[in-house]
Point group: C2
Chain length 384, copies 2
């Protein structure tokens, strides 16, 4: 891992704008054909998380590196992993004043500057650059190609929901795709989950109901509300569907456990069996209070980004999905953001800055050499 | 003239970033075919100055409006004219903290947001937008097309020196083109100017020399240094060449007056005649002390932009030009910026953000529909 001295604020030139911070990146010369050849540079853009050196051996694109004799670079996104301005994560996430430099535009400018400098230092100004990324990193890869065509000649954006903004895509998309994933795995599993929410709420109101639920789901501490259980179960379904590795197939595993016992008539016990089967190494089911969730959100870079520009209107409504009805309500969303960071989200900014509705025409003219790959079982594929 | 409530800071989302300001724009429906036709919207981007309503009748593009049945819009650039954040120009130009939001990136985002909102309000989402501008406004028009292809389908950029950055274009270009303009007008005029600098400096060191020069050039107050006169003369040559209206042709007018009297042997008296002939309505020649120039620079938005990102390395060196030798020295340039605004310029940022060197390849792929028009007598054409 290396550090690059990065400009904190690329767009404003005020009092603090000449501050810099150390941005982490990794580089591998193992397969590179060299600066004087036409060998490309594959730049993998980190998203909402730390980067790891072993990405050099696991990524799909990297497997193509020997063939293309490419130089490999991984760039960590500002404010994630070790690339924190202001020294520590605590300082960087302190308030809206320290978090203000966390945005997709600044992140793209970071990549532009780092790549330009790196090419200069390697005398590789003529080497073509391909940007690569998945999920949020995939959006950045596509946007880097669109916004900095002089820096990248192409992009491979995997599972990048660049259309899940504003009203471009139906708000139900995310929940509908997850629900379809479960339904395709097993119709009875889908029905069991769909009917469980009412049952959980009802049980919780009964005498000793929360205690019974806590025992049934083996929660790490006694539940204090039905919501705590509902949130955690939804989270488990989201995660299993979104990171549904075809080799291990956690959705199938979960559904198989739910469907397993033909004699079980209590749908909640079925769900509990399913959760146990996919809960991995945890001995008990973690549950979080509203205060704990808020504290965790406050320290999440993605919450900040969601509360400023990355407003993805995800809702779970209608008959085609298995979750508890959850509308997207911008007023509530704004209250949540105000309470967390004292900011008001800008729901129309991403489509103004990067386009959206007319993306096909723009791509025809402009965004040549962008490959969007989407797993149809990925819930974000509805916006990809 | 109308006002649009514009976002002050499009890219950072911190404490003050939800501030807005009133941005001026003008709109004319006179020729418009309407929202449901394919009539285009011509958007003229203001540069470093106020916008005027009479631009609707004078601009070249506007003369094409009846033919295309186009809607006409003129947008004033933030911090120029009446579009000052913080109420007044005095407040907006107070220091680097209030000036920090004056940048080309923010200005382009202003246009993107205003155009998007305007089209929505007019139900003209499908109307094609052509961006138009000259000089700095022309750079913005080209960059708007490059960076916001989903918002503009084309651009007409007149006299836009988008390559006069970094080391893309020879630093001598600006001075060489002006000198060529004068030389093409008259070889003896060019020689007279070229030889005058030494003469001015020599005269100034003589007893009562400054008094003699003050009288000869009819300065509005007595000169206190040769530099005051040199600066003003260079400024006059710059301005006359850059805004060399073919109808009035001030360069020819100036040279004719310099060449006029066959009996005049003093080159300075010849220069004085030339200046008088083009000095327009001023009764005397204005001269500025270093302090006055600094104060005027401090209140110039373009000085701020030059001291942050718009670093155009203009120098007057070598035998192909008629000015006093003036090297571009980045250290001196930085000292000037530090003294004026307490900022350090970023000379490589514009080429990182907008490209430059490989502009031709990028244009081939991406920047279709950009017309760059350059008057070859315009000194900025060397970077256009």
């Amino acid at each position: 891992m290396r550090n690059y001295t990065q400009t904190l604020d690329h767009f404003n030139f005020g009092t603090n704008s000449y501050d810099t911070f150390l941005q982490r990146y990794a580089i591998s010369f193992k397969y590179w054909g060299g600066a004087n050849t036409s060998s490309p540079i594959f730049v993998s853009l980190g998203g909402k998380g730390e980067i790891f050196i072993n990405e050099f051996s696991t990524s799909f694109v990297i497997t193509k590196a020997p063939h293309f004799k490419s130089l490999l670079v991984i760039i960590e996104h500002r404010y994630y992993g070790e690339s924190n301005p202001f020294g520590s994560k605590e300082e960087a996430y302190k308030n809206s004043s320290t978090l203000q430099y966390l945005s997709s535009e600044q992140a793209l400018a970071d990549c532009a500057q780092l790549i330009t400098d790196l090419k200069k230092n390697l005398s590789a100004e003529n080497s073509p650059v391909i940007a690569v990324g998945g999920s949020y990193g995939g959006m950045l890869a596509a946007w880097l190609r669109l916004k900095y065509p002089h820096i990248t000649i192409g992009a491979l954006a995997s599972s990048a929901p660049i259309l899940y903004f504003d009203d471009i895509t139906p708000h139900n998309g995310y929940c509908n795709v997850i629900s379809r994933d479960f339904r395709e795995s097993s119709e009875s599993c889908y029905r069991t989950i769909k009917n469980s929410w009412h049952q959980i709420r009802k049980t919780a109101t009964q005498h000793e109901g929360l205690t019974a639920l806590s025992q049934m789901f083996n929660t790490c501490r006694p539940l204090t509300s039905a919501k705590e259980l509902v949130d955690e179960l939804e989270y488990i379904y989201f995660v299993n569907a979104q990171f549904n590795d075809p080799l291990t197939n956690p959705v199938n595993k979960l559904c198989e456990a739910i469907d397993k016992d033909p004699h079980e008539i209590d749908p909640l016990r079925r769900i509990a069996s399913g959760v146990k089967a996919t809960n991995g190494f945890s001995k008990c089911l973690k549950v979080f209070s509203v205060e704990e969730e808020n504290e965790s959100d406050r320290l999440s870079g993605w919450s900040w980004q969601s509360c400023t520009e990355m407003v993805m209107p995800i809702e779970c409504m209608g008959n085609e999905q298995m979750f508890e009805a959850y509308p997207f309500n911008f007023t509530d969303y704004t209250s949540w953001c105000k309470a967390l960071f004292n900011v008001v989200p800008r729901p129309h900014w991403i489509t103004t800055e990067y386009g959206g509705r007319n993306i096909k025409e723009v791509l025809k003219d402009f965004g040549s050499n962008i490959i969007f790959s989407n797993g149809l079982r990925d819930p974000y594929s509805s916006g990809g």
